[in-house]
């Protein structure tokens, strides 16, 4: 079972503070959708509005086409997994999982059977009679998911459920969540401030800043074609240059900066308002030979070995720092610290973007 969620021009005010600002997005049935944004940008508030704990100040929320305004959380077909999981510590695992069935008046034998079944689904058989406090972080995670699945929600809402886990377990649980979502076909709305997590798991990502939705797109699009400077620098690393747009042609523009004049893609609509030039570190190439487009001479600074890539910092003669990431596959020669090199990037891989989209 799954349902479409439609946020239609939703705002949420706390006093004079606007936590969610004119957010409109349609989340498709069966989709894994992530809201990504820095702390305090209104992600939890959006989830609480969908689940019914907070009412929007204006705008409409529809679940499966039905306007749910005024419905209490216990009347909505949603299940929320809390940031701290909120398992019931005084109940054994199976009662936790079967709680939603218990309050619907399902008899005990059926409840127990269903709990066992869900425990197998989340790969935790044999934990039924343990107390929640006896479980490890990852196991409690699974119990929380099973508890939410037990009520057969049309939508699962997950509020940074992996943030408390260590890196290895987090990566494991990402894959696990994704596969549970595929198996059950339930619409997942996932919240995170970890861009890697959002990109790795989601069908589509909505990037938020200060209550506003900046871009909604699939992960590749978000990373390769960020809509604005906020998305570009929040998702992944960026070298950023400030300057002025010059002549434009075929979607490309020349961009004059104190460190040289470059050519790059000009984002549509970037003509008005302040713009900057963004280049990903992995698109920066360091070579000993001059010539070609977008080349500038630099002095190599630190060379940091990061494992799968090598991070090189370089400074132009005018004093601008750049970061270049070289793949550790032997294809690139690693420059010596202090050596003179030329830094170059492909105009098609660099973008001139507006700082932040206003009200979309």
């Amino acid at each position: 079972m799954s349902a479409e969620i439609d946020l239609d021009d939703v705002c949420c005010d706390f006093g004079s503070f606007r936590a969610v600002d004119h957010v409109s997005v349609k989340i498709r049935p069966g989709e894994f959708f992530s809201f990504l944004g820095p702390s305090g940008c209104g992600k939890t508030t959006i989830l609480r509005m969908i689940s019914g704990f907070t009412e929007p100040s204006s705008g409409v929320i529809r679940i499966g086409g039905k306007d749910v305004r005024g419905q209490r959380p216990n009347q909505r077909p949603t299940a929320l997994i809390f940031q701290n999981l909120a398992l019931f510590p005084l109940m054994p695992v199976w009662e936790n999982i079967a709680f939603g069935l218990e309050v619907r008046g399902v008899d005990k034998a059926t409840r127990r059977a269903r709990a066992e079944e869900l425990l197998r689904l989340v790969d935790l058989p044999g934990a039924a009679d343990k107390m929640a406090s006896q479980l490890s972080g990852g196991q409690r995670q699974r119990v929380a998911i099973a508890r939410a699945l037990a009520v057969e929600p049309a939508v699962m809402l997950l509020d940074e459920p992996l943030s408390a886990l260590d890196l290895k377990l987090r990566q494991h649980m990402r894959a696990e969540l994704r596969s549970i979502q595929k198996r059950t076909g339930v619409t997942f709305i996932y919240i995170t401030h970890d861009q890697g997590e959002a990109l790795a798991m989601s069908d589509r990502v909505g990037v938020m800043s200060q209550g506003r939705l900046q871009q909604v797109a699939d992960p590749r699009e978000i990373y390769n074609n960020p809509a604005n400077g906020f998305v570009a620098s929040f998702v992944g690393e960026m070298n950023i240059l400030t300057g002025d747009v010059g002549a434009t042609a075929d979607g490309f523009a020349s961009y004059a900066t104190p460190h040289g004049t470059f050519r790059a893609r000009l984002a549509p609509g970037a003509a008005k308002g302040p713009v900057k030039l963004y280049i990903r570190p992995e698109h920066v190439v360091l070579t000993p030979d001059a010539g070609g487009e977008n080349a500038v001479s630099v002095t190599v600074g630190d060379v940091a070995f990061e494992g799968n890539f090598i991070s090189v910092s370089a400074t132009t003669d005018s004093g601008k720092h750049f970061v270049a990431e070289l793949r550790n596959d032997g294809s690139a020669t690693v420059p010596d610290p202090g050596s003179r090199q030329f830094m170059r990037f492909d105009a098609a891989r660099a973008a001139i973007l507006p700082d932040e989209t206003g009200t979309a």
């Binding site: 689940s51 019914g52 704990f53 209490r72 959380p73 216990n74 949603t78 299940a79 929320l80 809390f82 940031q83 701290n84 909120a86 019931f88 005084l90 109940m91 709680f99 939603g100 218990e102 309050v103 619907r104 508890r147 939410a148 037990a150 009520v151």
Partner: protein, 311 residues
Amino acid sequence: MQDLLRRYGATLTGTFVLLVAFWLLALVILPNVTLFEASFRPYLPVVDVGGPKDTYSFDNYRKFLNNPVDTSFLGISFQLPIHTITFLNTVLFSALVTFITFVMSYPLAYYLAKIVNPRALPTLVLLLFVPLWVSEALRAFAWYIILTFNGPLNAALVGMGLLDAPVRWQNGVFTAYDAIVIGLVYTYVLFMLFPIYGSIQSLDTNQIEASEDLGAKWWQTHWRVILPHAKPGIASGCVMVFMLSAGSLLVPSVLPSTKSNWFTQTIQVWMLESQDWNTGAAYSFLYILLCTVVVTLVMWAFKVKLSDIAK
């Protein structure tokens, strides 16, 4: 101890340790030991004290079972010793007081802990404390005045047309203990409220929301999530209110009816009116013992552990 010595020096530390020891020994332990010893000796004219008649026995304790009188409960008539009846009444109505204070406190505690705006909380708690600024005796007398035949309660109820004629509240409308129960509830309700408030407050609000999100109705959330979590607070509130009510002398003396009798009053009669401190002491110890048994049984029935209460 080392810490105390280092911080306050030998003189000050010594003084305080001595003072505490004196307080414990001379003001708590010794009097109780003396009374305990006296409770096993007969009440004798001064000349016989220490004489051949002054021997240890359980006679004083046995008086609890003297003087059977006719009584009836739920339509069955039988005979019970008069002081046993008083004891049973005291336990019964103390339990009723405990129950009423619980029913009053739980919703209020939940409201204060989870619903009210945290900024308004200090004001509300202050308002709750205002009655405590007045002494217990004055509060009991205030209820005496409220409930009296020509008092404000009758005036108001008759004035509003809810009663045709004034009622003798003090004599008891439902039982002979109505006024005492009202007085005790009023006096001790905060001892129930605050432990419950404390335990509900320590509950993670997300658990309440999780319960609602999973489809629970409000009463199901209370029954399955909030009440179990608040159990230690409820238990300590109940033990406190029960013991305080059972041990209250002032309220039953100020708000009695012609037929009411609280066990503390029986002890007072032995000690002050009969001047028989030996029997009075015996009754006191018996009372503590029996009340402890009652509390233990109830705790066992509700599966409350002592360690829960200590939380």
